[in-house]
């Protein structure tokens, strides 16, 4: 694989803001961090009383380009263009939508590939370990910058859903409505295991160079591609893989008795891996997967998850997908039960789908119907016209 030219931060379209200049960001690890940069996109307009802001939180390998027509790197549409836009479920004509690239990310926010001002070199593994809590605390600084006291809604899937829950636990008075989608209040042992496989693949690549690949002019493309291939399988389901590829061969009449990519599913995964390394930084992948692994909202309450939501007035809509084995409906139910036990206003829906974890990014009419009903109901309660 060729080494793609690194994308310059300045070349990225959209907004960037320096935060934590005076009041630094206090990381969960105890480090006072700052100043740091957050890259973000906004869509629509903030109303006069600042009551119509929706924060959309992205998943592990997502970014701030949630609703752009053209993503600056992939050239495709924004990752939730089906849902966010004029007249869509998250209506940019009605709401002010904010989406930030998380801290530790690699698309304009401060992360391991950016320059450490103290050394003048890329952070690499000197970048502090971050958590979902740190990502959210960084986001609050941006929300403060906009002068928004209370967000109308915080919405996100997968890791984005973890951020949603973290917001609801740490800043309940700032979240009117919350939709944690295809997510969990803690990362499961199985998911941690898959992440570890991915990290080991990156670190086993000789081009990783102990995390200093940028200085060495290299890129652990093979390791990162393997990490992505593994992860990608967990985002799908057997029915969807079978429907797409079955055991069909790739442009050949028979098997080759070699380790070439005979099967279509192999070509597909190789393509997924390759296109991923073109747009994502390997060290960012290590840091962000670690943040997800550490996530457990119940841990500071001795496992009593309901305590995390005690007294919350947020309206919740917990959505899961029946074939998602990465973040199962059972986990969503546990979350919903805890919200119930805390007397929260909660809806909990499992959407029938055979598309696995990725269903939240795809065209699923039942999911869209539920999310739109929830947002409209909440808007009515908030008095948003």
């Amino acid at each position: 694989m060729s080494i793609p030219a690194p994308v310059s931060r300045r070349a990225l379209p959209g907004h960037q803001i320096v935060l934590g200049d005076r009041d630094k960001l206090r990381l969960d690890s105890g480090i006072e961090f700052g100043p740091f940069t957050l890259a973000y996109q906004t869509y629509g307009e903030l109303n006069a009383d600042k009551s119509n802001a929706i924060l959309v939180c992205h998943a592990l390998t997502g970014d701030q380009y949630v609703a752009d027509d053209v993503h600056p790197i992939t050239g495709k549409e924004g990752w939730w263009r089906a849902i966010v836009g004029p007249g869509k479920i998250i209506d940019t004509e009605k709401y002010f939508i904010i989406c930030t690239n998380v801290i530790g990310g690699c698309l304009g926010s401060t992360g391991p590939k950016e320059i450490n001002p103290e050394t003048g070199k890329p952070w690499g593994l000197d970048f502090p370990v971050i958590t979902i809590g740190d990502m959210v605390r960084a986001q609050t600084m941006l929300i403060d910058h906009f002068g928004i006291d209370s967000l109308f809604a915080v919405i996100g899937g997968s890791m984005g859903g973890m951020q949603v829950l973290e917001w609801c636990k740490s800043y309940p008075e700032r979240v009117f409505a919350a939709a944690p989608i295809a997510t969990s209040y803690r990362h499961s042992a199985q998911n941690i295991a898959f992440h570890e496989v991915g990290r080991q693949a990156v670190m086993a690549d000789p081009d990783w160079c102990g995390g200093n690949y940028l200085l060495e002019g290299k890129k652990p493309a093979r390791g990162l591609a393997v990490a992505r291939m593994t992860a990608h399988i967990t985002y799908l389901s057997e029915p969807v893989l079978h429907r797409k590829f079955g055991r069909k061969l790739q442009n050949r009449g028979g098997i080759t008795y070699s380790f070439d990519h005979d099967f279509q599913v192999e070509s597909y995964l190789r393509h997924q891996g390759k296109s991923f390394v073109d747009r994502f930084d390997a060290n960012s992948y290590l840091y962000i997967t670690r943040a997800m692994d550490y996530f457990d909202l119940s841990v500071e309450f001795d496992g009593r998850l309901a305590e995390a939501f005690r007294g919350s007035n947020t309206r919740f809509c917990v959505i899961s997908f029946s074939s998602d084995w990465c973040f199962t409906t059972a986990e969503s139910r546990r979350l919903a039960h805890a919200l119930n036990a805390a007397s929260c206003n909660v809806s909990c829906v499992e959407i029938e789908s055979d598309k696995g974890h990725d269903a939240f990014l795809l065209d699923e009419p039942d999911f869209h119907m539920v999310l739109s009903g929830f947002i409209e109901g909440a808007a009515e309660a908030r008095g948003l016209k």
Partner: protein, 220 residues
């Protein structure tokens, strides 16, 4: 889980054209004080919840087993949990609601007695409706045809029905007594779902009532 009576065409006489709900649901709604907190267990498509929200400014929540029901409720902006009355009521805190409503669902639960107890742990008052197996037609079917009753209120054949614990008005009153529950209000409905003006304790109510409706509270 609810075996819905086939009464969609019958509407409450007092309802406006835009707000017509099934007549038995209307009678339940009439018992609910405005501005209260209501849990509707087995809420189906949210007909009662939506009505209570629109007309009585009720803070309503639902519990529903079917995917389709939950989806439809949430799509209308109603907060509904997907779940099972037999299992998931345990998750609700004590006294979280003013009313816990169980409409046409008790007979489909595995443990009606425990479910009834849960209703009055979660809610200050419980409103329960169920098809009356003591109705003369049910008795007639069994007595003279030797067949399980089938009628608009019990439309499904015995081998397909989700209902597993049938009772009569008398059975229910006996259970309430056994559990030390106070029957605050009771009524029976005829086959078209309209109120029958008979006392619920009377044998006549048990004989002529097609459905029964009770409002219960705990003693003391």
């Amino acid at each position: 889980m609810t075996q819905t009576p086939n009464q969609g065409a019958v509407n409450a006489p007092s309802a406006t054209p835009s707000d017509r709900i099934r007549v038995d649901l209307q009678l339940i709604a009439d018992m609910v004080e405005p501005g209260t907190r209501v849990l509707d267990i087995g809420c189906g498509d949210g007909e009662l919840l939506g009505y209570l929200k629109r007309t009585k400014n009720v803070d309503g929540r639902g519990l529903e087993l079917s995917n389709e029901g939950v989806r439809n409720c949430v799509a209308q902006g109603l907060p509904v949990m997907q779940g099972d009355a037999d299992r998931d009521l345990l998750d609700y805190p004590n006294g979280a609601f003013d009313y816990a409503i169980l409409s046409q669902t008790l007979q489909a639960t595995n443990r009606p007695r425990e479910v009834l107890g849960e209703l009055l742990r979660i809610g200050r008052k419980a409103i329960v409706s169920f098809p009356n197996f003591g109705h003369w037609r049910a008795r007639f079917d069994l007595m003279f045809h030797g067949r399980m009753p089938q009628n608009p209120n019990l439309p499904i054949m015995w081998y397909e029905t989700p209902n597993i614990h049938f009772c009569t008005v008398r059975d229910f009153v006996a259970l309430c007594k056994d559990m030390d529950l106070v029957i605050e209000r009771s009524m029976v409905l005829n086959e078209s779902g309209s109120k029958v003006s008979l006392g619920s304790h009377s044998a006549l109510a048990n004989f002529f009532g097609n459905q029964a409706l009770f409002m219960l509270s705990k003693k003391g």
